[in-house]
C-alpha cells in the first residue's frame, strides 16, 4: 500500500497527487486499537478513589477560552466530515461548508495564539524535564496541564497549523467570493499541499478520537466539565495537580 498517490501531470511526468486515503482506515484501526488497549489496561489497574466534586470551585478555564475551545472543536468536526465523507463515497455539496469552516477555525486559532502569547502563560504548555517524570513517579504531579494534556495540545497545535497553512494555500485554486482560481501553484507544489493537508487531516482524525475518548473517561470527566463550566473542585485540584506549580483562584 502506498503512502501517497501519484499521477501524471499535464506533460506526462509523475507528480504527487496527495496522501493515499487507504491510510484513513489504517489510522482509524490504530486509534481504535489504542483505545481498546487503554480500556483493558485501565480495567485491570486498581482504581484510585475518585476526588469529590464538592467544595470550593477553582477556575480552570476562563469563559473566553472555553468558548474558543468549543468553536474550534465544532469547526474541526465540520472540516473533518466535509473533507472526508466525499472521499469515502458520501457525495454532497461540501466544498463551501469546508472552506467557510476552515476560515472560522483559522480565525479562532489566530485569536488563541495571540491571547496565549500576550495574555496567558505560554509556558503552561511547555514540556519541562520534570514533566517527563509524571508517568513513572506517583508523587510527581503536574502544574495546570499534565504531560498527556500538553502532548495532546502541542500535537494538535502542530497538525492544526499545518492543515490551516496548506488549506489557506489551496484557496489559490478555488473560486471564492473574493477571487477566482488561478494556477499559481504548479502541479508538483499542489501535490505537496494536498499531501500535507491530507496527512495532517489523518493525524487530526486520530488525535481527535483519542481526545474525545479521554474526555469521556470517568477519571478525566471533571476536566471535560471544567471545559464546559470552567471550574474544578479543590479536591480534584489537590489530587491531580501540584499546588506549588498551579494554584487557581476561587471561581466566581
Amino acid at each position: 500500500m502506498e503512502l501517497v498517490t501519484v499521477r501524471e501531470d499535464v506533460w506526462g511526468r509523475e507528480v504527487m497527487l496527495g496522501v493515499s486515503w487507504d491510510l484513513l482506515w489504517v489510522v482509524l484501526a490504530l486509534t481504535g486499537a489504542a483505545i481498546i488497549l487503554h480500556l483493558l489496561i485501565m480495567a485491570f489497574l486498581s482504581k484510585a478513589p475518585r476526588p469529590s466534586a464538592e467544595g470550593a470551585q477553582l477556575e480552570r478555564h476562563a469563559g473566553i477560552d472555553r468558548g474558543f475551545h468549543w468553536i474550534m472543536a465544532i469547526s474541526v468536526f465540520v472540516l473533518l466530515f466535509t473533507g472526508v465523507l466525499p472521499i469515502v463515497g458520501v457525495n454532497f455539496d461540501w466544498l463551501t461548508i469546508h472552506w467557510v469552516a476552515g476560515l472560522i477555525l483559522t480565525g479562532t486559532v489566530v485569536f488563541h495564539v495571540l491571547r496565549a502569547i500576550f495574555w496567558q502563560r505560554p509556558k503552561d504548555m511547555w514540556v519541562a524535564g520534570r514533566d517527563l517524570r509524571e508517568p513513572f513517579d506517583e508523587s510527581q504531579k503536574p502544574g495546570k496541564y499534565s504531560l498527556a494534556q500538553k502532548g495532546m495540545h502541542n500535537a494538535m497545535t502542530v497538525l492544526v497549523l499545518l492543515v490551516i497553512g496548506t488549506g489557506i494555500a489551496l484557496f489559490a485554486v478555488m473560486d471564492t467570493p473574493w477571487w477566482t482560481r488561478s494556477n499559481a501553484l504548479d502541479e508538483a507544489t499542489l501535490g505537496w499541499m494536498f499531501m500535507l493537508h491530507g496527512a495532517s487531516t489523518l493525524g487530526l482524525i486520530g488525535l481527535t478520537a483519542l481526545h474525545v475518548y479521554f474526555a469521556v473517561r470517568p477519571e478525566k470527566r471533571f476536566y471535560t466539565r471544567s471545559m464546559i463550566s470552567g471550574w474544578i473542585s479543590e479536591d480534584e485540584h489537590k489530587s491531580n495537580h501540584d499546588p506549588g506549580r498551579w494554584s487557581p483562584d476561587q471561581s466566581t
Partner: protein, 329 residues
Amino acid sequence: MAAHDVMPDIELFQPVTVEDASTLAERLGSRGWILAGGQDTYGWLKDRAKSPRAMVDLAAIEGISGIEAVDGGLRIGAMTSLTTITRDERIRADFSLLASAAGKVASPQIRNQGTLGGNLVQDTRCWYYRRGLSCYRAGGNICYADSPEGMNREHAIFGASRCVAVSPSDTGTALVALDATMIVQNGDAERRIPAREFFVGPAVNITHMTVLRPGDILTAVELPERWAGADFYFEKVADRNVWDFALVSIAGAFRSEAGTIRDARLVCGAVECVPRRLEAVEAAIIGKPRNEETGTAVAALASRGAAPLNFNHFKIPLMENLVKRALRA
C-alpha cells in the same frame, strides 16, 4: 506518450438478464464498464484514457429496448437506438421534443448504433479531460480548462465547482424538460429517479455525471402523460451540423390555455454540467402568451447568475436568444 488507437485487452460479457449484468457490474466495480451502443466507450478505451478490465454489454438483454405505452405516457427501453426514437410514431406524435433532440445527435450511423441510455450517461467532452489528463474529473486535483489562459469556449457558465465541464447529452436536455423518470435496476432492486436528479454536478460528485453507481443499470426512461402532446421546441446550436456537440441547446415544453401559457419547462444544454432548468423563466412566463414580446421580456432571466470563463461569454446572449426563439415559435 502515444496517440493510442487500438482496443486494449479487455474482457467482454454479454449477459442476457439485467440481474446478471448488474451482478457483474457490481463485482467489477471500478474495473467494470457498462457497454450500451459504445459510441462514447471505444474512444476512451482506444485512447487508453480510461482502462477498465471488463465490459458488460447490455445488447443481448431482452426487455430493455423498445417503446411501450404506460398509463398515458411512454416507457422507452434504455437500449433503444436513437434512430428508432427519431422514427417512432408514438414519440413523434406525443413527445416530438425527444424525437427532435435524438435526431440532432452526432450522425446517422451513430444514431443507428447509439442508444438512449448511452446518450444520457455519456461522459463530458471537455478536451482536457478527454485527452486523458488527470484533472479533477479524472480523480486529480486540478482543472486545466478553468485556468487563466485555458481554452474553454465549450465549457460551463453555470454551476462550476472546480470542474467546468458541461453536459454533452442532447436527449438529457429534452428528458429533463419532459419530467421523465429514469428506471435504474441494481440486482433485483429497482429505483425510479426523476431525470433532473439523475444528473449531478461537480459540487456534489466531481468524477461522475450521473447518480449511477457500480451495479446500477439504467434500464428504461418513462415519459409521463403530463407533457404528452404539449407544444415543444428544441434547438441545438453547434459549429457543425453533423458530429458536433451543442454550444448551447434548448428544450422547451409548453401547455397553453386560451392563448396563455399554463405550464412550461425550459431546459438548456451545454451551459452547465447538468441540463439546466430555467425555472426563473418558467415562472415568469406562466399566464403570458407564448410570443415574441414574452420572449424578449424574460430572456434576460435565463442567464442570470452566469459566470462565463475566458472564451465562452457568447453563451450568455446565445442562451437568451434561444429562450426568445423557444417562446416565439
